[in-house]
Homo-oligomer: 503 residues x 2
């Protein structure tokens, strides 16, 4: 039933970021709460004009919220398209029908395609609470999804969002199975591949828990928030782009599932594959090179696990006519000197410009991926990719292509250097035996990355390198003295971020 009469409430933007979960805040004494018997964590349907959402209810005691107000989380405010002065009406939501299929799955059933369609539709529409989403994710985890179910889930995820279509063929894409900071190969790969004549309409993400996402680093060099039409013009003119995918709703259910899967840390090949492949199919890609770093602190820790994931990705991609090629790479250390948007962007420029000081690891990794892309994209015969990619880079063709892409995206930008720096030095002599990627990322975040684009750190030593006492291991960059001190204090308390062993 709809709540009417005395209970027409004024929408109030509270500015509370609950990520994707819609939350409505009502005063405990309000007529609506009393009359409807609403209590904390109830689900409530909120309508504003023609739009409506289902939100979780937080009850407020005291005067944070007025009696005639409905406070809205940022996500709810945006989803309702609310404006100051708007009123909202509240009602009890219908039970989420599709969740009964989740219950059956928990009792050992199999999902049908229609059930997965309905679940993903409800998820994308925000009808699942985070608790219901967690139950769905758990019900699918632990190899409980058959290959047929994974395929149907992926298809449902693609169908629930925007799907791009390109005139050109083939349409190339790349993906890296996370876990390594500073692995900023994408802009280099796109530049080489586009210079080699391939179509690479790359959409990238911003940092979620890392010090920088590809979109954050690229934004230091050119605008990345483009409309779909602008993105199309860039790709038609230059063959490639590197834009922020967040502006385009590709597989929106994926974002919601990842948000719950990440804290739960359920490491299921099926979920990872559905996530990656749904995004790429929605982006209209026909060929995908996947970089799978393998190493003790990377996501994949054994070659067996990496090979199993590769098989799942390849077979799932095949069902959508997406050709998937997996590269197993060294995941034992960062793949660049810099960690943080601008510092990673500078690494990218150094490689593109063939600077003598460019990071050899980053250069090699980007060439490896670009080479495979040129081969499977039909721009050279198998085995000749490495030479072709190296030539495109060394000749300056990739650098010129990259500049054209930046111009087409809205204009080249100069990376800025941070004002404050501090070296963290070796306190004993020896060789660098291990690098703790996770803590290294923490230092960069404490220094201000990614919110301060020029903040982060630059590695001065690599795995296996011999160092003497007092030699800089890495340099922290920050835009304020407070953040510099803050990051340095953490670094000094954690001397084994770069572990030095007997030489």
């Amino acid at each position: 039933m709809t709540i009417q009469g005395p209970a027409e409430l004024f929408a109030r933007r509270l500015g509370i970021d609950t990520y994707r979960e819609y939350v409505v805040f009502l005063r405990s004494e309000s007529t609506v709460c009393r009359a409807e018997g609403l209590r904390a964590l109830s689900r409530v349907r909120v309508a504003c004009g023609q739009r409506e959402i289902v939100a979780s209810l937080n009850i407020v005691h005291g005067d944070l919220i007025g009696d005639r107000q409905a406070g809205l989380s940022e996500s709810a405010w945006v989803a309702l398209g609310a404006a100051a002065g708007d009123t909202v009406s509240l009602s009890h939501p219908e039970a989420v029908e599709s969740f009964s299929a989740v219950r059956r799955k928990i009792y050992g059933g199999r999902f049908t395609g229609a059930e997965l369609d309905a679940i993903v539709r409800d998820l994308s529409a925000g009808h699942y609470s985070s608790v219901e989403t967690a139950a769905f994710v758990t019900a699918c985890a632990g190899d409980r999804m058959s290959p047929a179910e994974t395929l149907q889930l992926t298809r449902a995820m693609v169908d629930a969002g925007t799907r791009l279509a390109w005139h050109q063929r083939p349409v190339m894409d790349k993906h890296c199975v996370g876990g390594l900071p500073g692995n900023r190969t994408t802009p280099i790969v796109v530049a080489i591949a586009a210079a080699g004549g391939l179509t690479v309409p790359k959409t990238s993400s911003r940092a979620i828990t890392s010090p920088a996402g590809t979109a954050d680093a690229m934004e230091v060099l050119a605008p990345v928030t483009l409309t779909l039409e602008h993105m199309r013009r860039v790709v038609e003119r230059e063959g490639g782009c590197v834009v922020w995918g967040g502006a385009i709703a590709l597989s929106p259910a994926d974002d919601l599932l990842i948000q719950v899967e990440r804290p739960l840390d359920f490491d299921s090949d099926a979920q990872l594959a559905a996530s990656v492949i749904s995004k790429k199919v929605a982006a209209g890609s026909t060929h995908l090179v996947v970089d799978i770093p393998v190493g003790p602190t990377a996501k994949l820790r054994s070659h067996e696990a990496a090979a199993r994931l590769a098989r799942t990705l390849t077979s799932l991609g095949g069902a959508f006519d997406l050709r998937v090629e997996c590269l197993f790479t060294d995941g034992s250390q960062p793949v660049g000197f810099g960690i943080g948007p601008a510092l990673e962007a500078l690494d990218v420029l150094d490689v593109l410009h063939n600077a003598p000081t460019a990071c050899a690891l980053l250069r090699a990794r980007a060439l490896q991926i670009a080479a495979r892309m040129l081969e499977i994209g039909g721009r050279c015969v198998a085995g000749e990719g490495p030479a072709r990619a190296a030539h495109l880079l060394a000749s300056g063709a990739a650098a010129r292509k990259f500049e054209s892409i930046c111009d087409a995206q809205g204009g080249r930008r100069e990376p800025r250097r941070a004002n404050y720096r501090k070296d963290i030095v070796a306190t004993q002599a020896g060789a660098v035996q291990a690098i703790d990627n996770r803590r290294l990322g923490r230092v960069a975040k404490l220094a201000g990355a990614p919110a301060s684009p020029s903040a982060g750190l630059v590695l001065q030593a690599q795995l296996g390198q011999a160092v003497v006492v007092g030699q800089p291991l890495y340099t922290i960059h920050a835009q304020s003295p407070g953040e510099l001190e803050y990051a340095a204090a953490y670094a000094l308390r954690n001397p084994k971020i770069l572990e030095i062993g007997s030489p």
Copy 2:
């Protein structure tokens, strides 16, 4: 690491009721958020004096929260024992170690006793987010728990909270497997059993989604928020009590699990049994009578399902030396005339006082339960319980015992009648063929129950009864004309709450 220096934040009580989930609200521009790379839904450790909790983070844009403030949800404020002017320090929490056992369970493993101990300890301490709790509940649902695991879970739940011990033996208890409004047998059963010489230290709950809990109805007649010491004195003097269990932390994990299980509606015998038995074992009970209503709109819909649940309860109770007796009762309609705290209390008094207008169904149900309690408690031989219970009620012994209990709990109270009433009448002639318990409960809540104790409704017709056009089917009671109209409007839009068929 602990966040120090510029980031000593002032605790601010926001009054936001997030139920049991601890939430901390920080401004997006705050040094802490930037420096720590904190974002929406991160988990944060919050310390205040000697206490600390792990909370979910909501990021706030704009000026709802000051830059030097940490807004706290009501649950977080209370758990930290914070006071105005207190400062809090924030840090990244350690990963919740016990959750790795949940991950293994999802991959098909079995929980060990030590793992379940650790999980329940972390749950009770508030270290699990609602998403993690949902994953645990899902991992245990659908018959995935072996009897041994269910036993260990129950033991862990008991051990995680207060455990009462009584000098007297036996210690009697009752429980009703929900689903029926107005099933207010508890005060009558306790009065009869205590009058018959049994020890019945009954702890009851308040309404969560229903129009009244036993504690709400009892509170109309006497105080129910007693300290443990006060409760002991009542039981020592009178043999029984009916108090609110919320003041005593019996099986605190149960409250947290129920909060997630209810919206997910996972109907697992193992979870239900662990919940019921852990509460009763923690309460120090030795004998338990369980009322299991069976009917089309009750929780248990078939006798097979009821019998299966009874076997699980009996066998699990046995492992804790708790003797469990299950009674299968008629769950097709409410077991009293009134629905709402005061209206149910009036039904209770009418039965205790042998009023000619007392509800026969309620009287019969209470006698049935009390009779079984007297038999298994050794106060009469098998088969003589019904006569003994009827005598204790008819003689006035139960009524006198109830008055003494009320006095011992702090003094008898008179139920108040609501100021506003409205009859909902039959619009066609015929017999009452079905009663929609769920919608009937909704009407009582719309009228103001349980927040307004005298609000609710009184049934004027029962299943099978013949009615004529214009005859009252039920009467809505409310404390304000607005609430009365509100409930009546819903009732008129739902004419089949009492369904009338051909006579």
